[in-house]
Symmetry: C2
Subunit: 356 residues, 2 copies
């Protein structure tokens, strides 16, 4: 399997299935782990880092801790390949931009990815479509347990799992849920959500993690604290608040349909019209318009459009994806033209009968 093959497949978080998938895009859990006997990555000598990368790759792939798993060496990957992995949420921006010997192991269905020698020696990530905290945690635990049998983790009885950054010490866990909240945003109630979330020490971030802006009305909610609580306690906090937000978004959508049906239909159909006809379109405008399309599908306005196709467009129209799908490097202006053509093609294929 080549890394660029990823661009052509659907990926777990894009499937648009799972509980509450009209609002919850995906559930993600990541664990930070380090290997006993090695310094943290920042202090690792290049030769040792290469050894460790090799050793971890073997433990993950060769010993089949994760089935159907491929390891990609990021030191030799191209810029576009590394960007592609970021766009698919399989590696972090930091891992993309780092220099040393490092890699990522990816399960074919993209439900599991393990970054090797990112900030920590191991960053295990499990990602499922929809609101699936229990199943995601079960799968994460399975990978973690399997790895722990082959790799001696750096662990302290007092602190828990030791990590390069103190904010991850303890469980080393960050659980996050990605939500699509267009109706709450339209109703200007999104700030209320943030306040409720902040009260219980969870944080809200944009589509691409820390420091990124929310675009396309997509928000990630995750725990801020990994120390002093068990994994189950952290998960319970998230499990407690998400249904409330989902319920609020659902109510806001019903309200929009009842009180402002024409306005919301207008917004959805205009977004559809733009995406079907634009000849030049930026990535940012695309995400904003796709957000309206997604809402339209779930409100039954664009009922014959396939939600998985819409979800896929969110990712496939991003710069690296577009270049891989086109099979060549494209400067930003050419990319905006190629993006518009690609969207038109996809929407024409997924076109429903209710066009007018």
């Amino acid at each position: 399997m080549r890394l660029t093959d990823l661009a052509h497949q659907s990926g777990e978080w894009l499937r648009g299935v799972g509980a509450d998938s009209d609002i919850v895009i995906s559930t993600r859990i990541r664990l930070a782990r380090n290997v006993a006997g090695y310094p943290f990555v920042a202090r690792l000598k290049p030769a040792d880092q290469a050894d460790l990368s090799q050793r971890l790759c073997e433990s993950i792939v060769d010993d089949a801790v994760v089935p159907e798993c491929h390891y990609f060496d990021l030191k030799v990957a191209s810029d576009i390949e590394r960007r592609l992995l970021v766009e698919r949420h399989l590696i972090s921006k930091e891992h993309e931009e780092a220099q040393g010997d490092r890699g990522v192991a990816i399960r074919l269905n993209e439900a599991v990815s393990i970054m090797v020698n990112e900030e920590d020696h191991l960053r295990i990530q499990v990602l499922h479509s929809g609101f699936e905290l229990a199943e995601t945690w079960r799968a994460t635990n399975e990978v973690d347990t399997g790895l722990a049998r082959r790799v001696p983790y750096a662990f302290s009885e007092r602190l828990g799992y030791l990590t390069a950054c103190p904010t991850n010490v303890g469980t080393g866990m960050r659980a996050s849920v990605m939500l699509h909240l267009p109706a709450l945003e339209l109703a200007k109630q999104i700030e209320k959500v943030f306040h409720a979330v902040a009260k219980i020490n969870l944080i809200v971030r944009g589509l691409y993690g820390e420091g990124t802006q929310a675009s396309g009305n997509l928000y990630q909610i995750s725990n801020q604290i990994s120390l002093g609580k068990t994994e189950e306690e952290i998960l319970q906090e998230i499990q407690g608040i998400i249904p409330e937000i989902v319920e609020n978004e659902r109510r806001a959508r019903h309200f929009l349909l009842e009180r402002n049906r024409q306005q919301i239909e207008d917004r959805v159909w205009r977004a559809y019209g733009m995406l079907c006809h634009a000849r030049i379109i930026s990535s940012g405008e695309t995400i904003a318009l796709l957000s309206h399309l997604r809402l339209g599908v779930h409100l039954g306005i664009l009922s014959e459009l396939d939600i998985a196709a819409v979800n896929q467009l969110f990712v496939r129209t991003l710069p690296a994806h577009l270049q891989v799908l086109e099979g060549r490097e494209l400067d930003p202006q050419v990319r905006d033209v190629a993006r518009a053509a690609y969207i038109r093609k996809c929407l024409a294929q997924g076109r429903h009968t209710g066009d007018q």
Copy 2:
């Protein structure tokens, strides 16, 4: 014939034919005339105004000065009917809003309309599609000569035709050409046109005459002075400048296609996408988008769309037209929804194969 039947027919100036009709929408000449022995309208007693209206109606219609001609009594016409006539450029806003006994005679094909007891007793207007100054003048002259045989005009050897407002004294003529200049506007060269026009005492106005804003990149160019020049001299001035403006617009369009083809295609297709999909749309936005559509048709971008259909939408989406076509009064919000539906229907009927 009922007045509201007009909304269903095409009208001369909407035909999109005649010389340079890719840029020149229409050519119009109007003559202000008054009947000797009567005070001007502003000083006419109601009973005399009623008599004069009756007399002029008979001269125009019954004596067949204008063939296939209908007379509409505006004192009994409804608000929507009077507005409809303004939207079709068959009467002035002042004539719409006046109170006294007054009317308009309209030739079935709408090439001729004669306002009775507007500011002057008679306002003869002839309107042809495209840049057709000679033919329009010939037809105007014919109506004027025919009427002069039946009605004694107020005329002074020294001043020429006497009119209520001194700005019309002399020839009583205003000749105007309506131009669609989207490329010059995009290229920010429209001010240059205004300056060139102002130098030779012509003036530029918007779609609905004096004091109205240009919308949809539509401009009327007409003579400011009616005194001290013959009709032929006035026409020659206009005949001299229009081809120059047409040539500039044509050059600007070619330049756009050569240097900014993708940008202009994007703009045209986005306008098309909006018009095909919006569920709520104002009259102002409609005109702006139709302007891009019209440009797109003439640039061959929307090559299979019928230009007459696009031209018709300019008028049929205006408030009174829409209400007549819908057969009921609509408040502005409902109108914006009905307008969007009407546009979608028309464009679906005129849909070309090159949609994607």
